[in-house]
Every structure is written in C-alpha cells, then in structure tokens.
C-alpha cells in the first residue's frame, strides 16, 4: 500500500544506518564489529584519502517482525558503496556466520557501484567470495534478500551478487545492471547509451523495468516502511529450496526464451510493449501499486 507522501521516509536519501533503523524492529539491531572496534581502510590512507570507520558497510543482527535476521547495509555515500578489502570481508564474515547460526534471513541492503578501484584486486576477489558465500548461505537454507533502492543502485559485481540472492525487493528509484551507463557511453559512444538521458537510464536499468521483466520479486515505494513490509512479505511467501539441476534448467530455458524474443530491443518501451503492456508510455507515470496491478494483468 502507498503511504501518504508526507509520511514517507525516503530510502534513496537515507544513510545505511538510517535504513537499518527503519527496516528492523525498533531497538533490535546489534552491530558486528562496531566502528569503535574497527579501523578505516589503510589502502585509502596510502592513497591520501580519508576512510570510514565501518569501511562503508554496516553488518549485524536484529529482528524483522520478530524473526531473527542478519543485515548487511552498504553506504552509498562513501565512495559509491564500493567493495574494498575490509568492506568485502565484513560481508563475507556475516554470510558465513549465517550458515552456522541460521537466522530466518539475511537482508542485504545493496547500494554499490561494485569494486572499489582504489583496492581493485582485493575488491574483485572479495566480490567473488561474496558470490560464493551468498550461495553457501542459501544452500544452508538461509534466504538472502537483496533490497535495492539507494543512490548507487546495484552495479558491477554487486549487480551479479544481487541476482544470486533469493529475491530482490526494489523501488522505482532503484537501479540494477552490470555496467554503468556512464561506462558504456565513455567506451562505446553517446549513441550507444546517453548516460545523461535520465529517463532512458531508468527505462533500461530502473526498478519498474526490472520488476516488469521478472528480474525483481517485489516493487515497493521509496519509503523505509515500504521496504520493511516488502522484505517481510517476500519472506512470508518464500521457502529456500536447495540448488538443483531442475531449477537451473528451468532458469536456463526462461533466459534463452527471453533472449530469443527481445535481443534486438534497446529501450524499455519496446520490451514493455512486447510483454503486452497496452500503453508503454504510461509506465514511468504509474505509482508502484498500479504498476504491480499492471504486471499481474499481463499475459504470461
């Protein structure tokens, strides 16, 4: 349900710590490796840059509607939520802990452009470790839910990590992709992707497009309470099945069908029309409830 606009607290604008505060049951959050017990990245200091005590990610445990959960929250305002050595190790440690302690879920608040270039090799290997750790947690029966709605979206390796999670809860403001539009424009030219065309960027990478295409499980408003109820709703309807050949065969078929049907399209408007949306131009104007209703009415 839509909360009245005036009562919303924007997820997009909130810090990682404020998101945790709005997401979990009041007062339930306990941080693993608190800032006072931690150190900023020495690799950034070596490059003459100030670090952050938590290295841009907050990890810990708490409760979501009384269920015990773990939470990982990236801070998009700190170097684009990028994954460096300490940042990555905190995430991996939390996921490994989840394998043993088996909380009801790990909520993964992704807000990241991917690898931190200042620590590029450590960051790339760390993302690979996160990928395996997410799959290990899921194989142990612990759902990992990605929440995407921050200013940095989920890009690069963190876009891959998001798609390895049990499901993604996204807002219209959320973006999910591999290469950033700026990177594509820089390398391939503005005619391939005009990164300054914000409407186009959202039609290609934005939350509504990903939801309509079935890449995200839920679309919610840009509101802390909406993400909270979205995460709870996802978990209510989800049982983590172990990895299986049958499930991956089925995903393989769906991805092949999609590629065969839509490979030549370059704009969300074209794909939405092909999906059966009668008025694709209206999609950017719909609020999240109406978009969810629209998706439910599409031919399958």
């Amino acid at each position: 349900m839509n909360a009245p606009l005036a009562n919303r607290k924007s997820w997009f604008e909130a810090t990682a710590r404020a998101r945790i505060g709005g997401l979990l049951d009041a007062g339930s959050f306990v941080e693993f490796l608190q800032p006072a017990a931690s150190q900023p990245s020495p690799h950034l200091a070596q490059l003459d840059l100030p670090g952050a005590f938590d290295d841009g990610v907050v990890v810990g445990c708490g409760r979501l509607e009384k269920m015990p959960i773990f939470v990982i929250a990236q801070e998009g305002q700190f170097i684009g939520g990028s994954v460096g050595e300490i940042h990555g190790a905190k995430i991996v440690g939390t996921l490994r802990r989840a394998v043993e302690e088996k909380p009801a879920a790990v909520l993964f608040l992704i807000d990241s452009g991917g690898v931190r270039l200042h620590e590029a090799n450590a960051g790339l290997i760390a993302i690979s470790e996160i990928m395996r750790a997410v799959l290990d947690a899921r194989a142990a029966g612990v759902p990992v839910v990605a929440l995407v709605g921050g200013s940095c979206g989920a890009f690069g390796g963190m876009g891959i990590v998001a798609k390895l999670c049990s499901g993604i809860v996204i807002s219209e403001e959320g973006r999910l992709a591999l290469s950033g539009p700026e990177v594509i424009e820089t390398v391939m030219g503005v005619e391939e992707f005009d990164a300054k065309d914000r409407a186009l960027v959202w039609r290609v990478t934005g939350g509504k497009h990903r939801y309509l295409m079935g890449d995200c499980a839920l679309l919610v408003d840009d509101d802390l309470a909406a993400f909270r109820s979205g995460a709870a709703e996802f978990l209510t309807g989800w049982r983590e099945a172990g990895p299986s050949l049958a499930a991956l065969r089925s995903s393989q078929q769906a991805l092949e069908n999609r590629l065969a049907a839509y490979a030549t399209y370059r704009d969300g408007l074209d794909v939405w029309a092909a999906l059966g949306v009668a008025q694709p131009d209206s999609v950017p104007l719909l609020d999240s409830d109406r978009l969810v209703a629209l998706k439910k009415g599409l031919p399958t």
């Binding site: 800032p35 840059l49 952050a52 801070e75 305002q77």
Partner: protein, 104 residues
C-alpha cells in the same frame, strides 16, 4: 589528506556507556566517532580531512564546540570529506547528544 590533532579544555561530559558514531564520509560531509577519553577536563580530537590547509578553521570551529558544550573526558575522531564549518558544528552537537544517550 591532512591529519590534525587538537586538545581543548572543556567541562566534563556526563558519563556514557558506549561510543557514538554520527554522519557519513561522503562529499561535503563527515563522520564523527566519540568515545571516552582519559582526561575528564579535556576534549581530545583527531581529524583526517581530504581538504588541506584548513587547520586554523578547524581549530576555531572545534574550540568553539569545546567551549560551548561539556565535552570533557571524550576522545573525538573525525573523517572528513570537505564538510563546511556549519556541517561540522551540527554533526559535533549531534554526536555528543547521541553519546550522552540523547535521541538521534
């Protein structure tokens, strides 16, 4: 980056159980970590800032803070990405309030 250290006399702050963190190291912003220090009559501050050459401004802003608030007995660590003096003053007050158990 520049590293600065200051120490100001300040009235003793009330006792607090836990360290407090306030703010984010983002463009034009800073984070402040306050924890217990060893001298109840002084506030000890260390700053890492991306903007070089503003030592005098920091001394003035932090000195005003130590004079206006009871911040004795605390150690303050700051990571700064070019916050303005107004933002620094605001965050210091927030951090101290949180340290002493005030609402966020």
């Amino acid at each position: 980056m520049e590293t600065l250290e200051f120490r100001f006399a300040s009235h003793p702050a009330g006792p607090a159980a836990d360290p407090a963190l306030c703010g984010v190291v983002g463009s034009g912003n800073l984070e402040i970590l306050i924890r217990a220090g060893d001298d109840p009559a002084a506030c000890q501050l260390s700053i890492k800032t991306s903007a070089r050459g503003f030592g005098d401004t920091w001394r003035a802003v932090l000195g005003d803070f130590a004079a206006a608030h009871a911040a004795g007995g605390t150690t303050v660590a700051i990571n700064d990405m070019g916050a303005t003096p107004a933002v620094v003053t605001l965050r210091l007050a927030q951090a101290l309030a949180e340290y002493q158990g005030g609402a966020q």
